[in-house]
Symmetry: C2
Subunit: 190 residues, 2 copies
């Protein structure tokens, strides 16, 4: 390959295209985010970065909790709408046909239509420049029953997740190998 | 969909499967990470979370710079090896056939074989519990020429990026719509 310098840009990919829900069951809000990730394994910690101008910002800042909802290819249009419309102008749950759904440990609602939801409690807020970063403990998870296999394992590969790459939505392709597959030990016959 | 509670876990997906390079051109190191993301847009800021036990940890902490290298499906085996082997025991650049490549603005090498590399300068280190989070400015980018289209735009969709979902590598699927496609204005005939 022959590489050339490129203008500094946000070229990390692939990223998740998640719906971040907040507010209350009676007044739920949601925004779309790709600036989200895992920051710590034990205990599980995540983050989402939100511009202070966003309607959801003040809600998350005040309640110190939110839900990260994974999204599917079939939800692409709703995911996009929740990124371009503001909760100041429209009830995005109603616009998208989303159902608020309780999730353990926190008071704000998950989105019933999303295959996996992570209930998050904010531990720290870092003010960066365009965005504030909300660091949070993942305190609960709910997942669609159809993702659980016969061995009681969650098969995220079945969820047809939406992927964000370089400013565009993509489908997820086929499952390849498990992580750490090159470390697999030979069978132990002792 | 019918959702059930699931044990709290690291179910955020999809995530990038990146190679984080550090060290010097003569003594390069690399580790695999999925705990990486964008945290701020203007200016572009990213992070990677690394366990203090990892060989690369002390190198990044001391030099305060690293490179995030995106990976492809064809590199899956090398990506996995760099996650299971330690730089204490083996020269992973040599093991994987990686070529150290200069990148603007920082002293540690990128990986020539990766389609996109982001040169990162550490601004803050947050000690969490299992991992430390290295927040960094993206100070430079290099990209493979083959990704640049006739309009001088970078087409990341062409890179056949590797995706990390629920403990397994996946291929990237087809490009769907651009972000914000639901906001497109009608043609202006004035």
């Amino acid at each position: 390959m022959s590489k050339i310098p490129w203008k500094a840009d946000l070229l990390l990919a692939p990223l998740p295209a998640v719906l971040v829900s907040c507010g209350t069951p009676d007044a739920p809000c949601v925004l779309t985010a790709a600036w989200a990730g895992i920051v710590n394994s034990q205990p599980p910690k995540t983050y989402v970065s939100i511009r202070p101008q966003r309607h959801s910002y003040a809600i998350v800042r005040q309640s110190r909790e939110f839900v990260i909802n994974l999204t599917t290819r079939a939800m692409m249009r709703q995911v996009d709408l929740c990124g371009v419309r503001s909760g100041r102008d429209v009830d995005k749950f109603a616009l998208c046909g989303f159902t608020p759904q309780a999730i353990a440990g926190i008071g704000c609602p998950a989105i019933a239509q999303c295959p996996v939801s992570l209930g998050c409690r904010v531990t720290d807020i870092l003010s960066l420049e365009s965005h504030d970063m909300f660091l949070a403990d993942i305190v609960s998870v709910s997942a669609d029953e159809s993702l659980v296999d016969a061995n009681n394992r969650l098969q995220l590969s079945r969820a047809d997740l939406l992927v964000y790459v370089g400013g565009a939505y993509h489908a997820l392709g086929e499952r390849l190998e498990s992580s750490h597959y090159t470390a697999q030990k030979k069978p132990d016959h002792k």
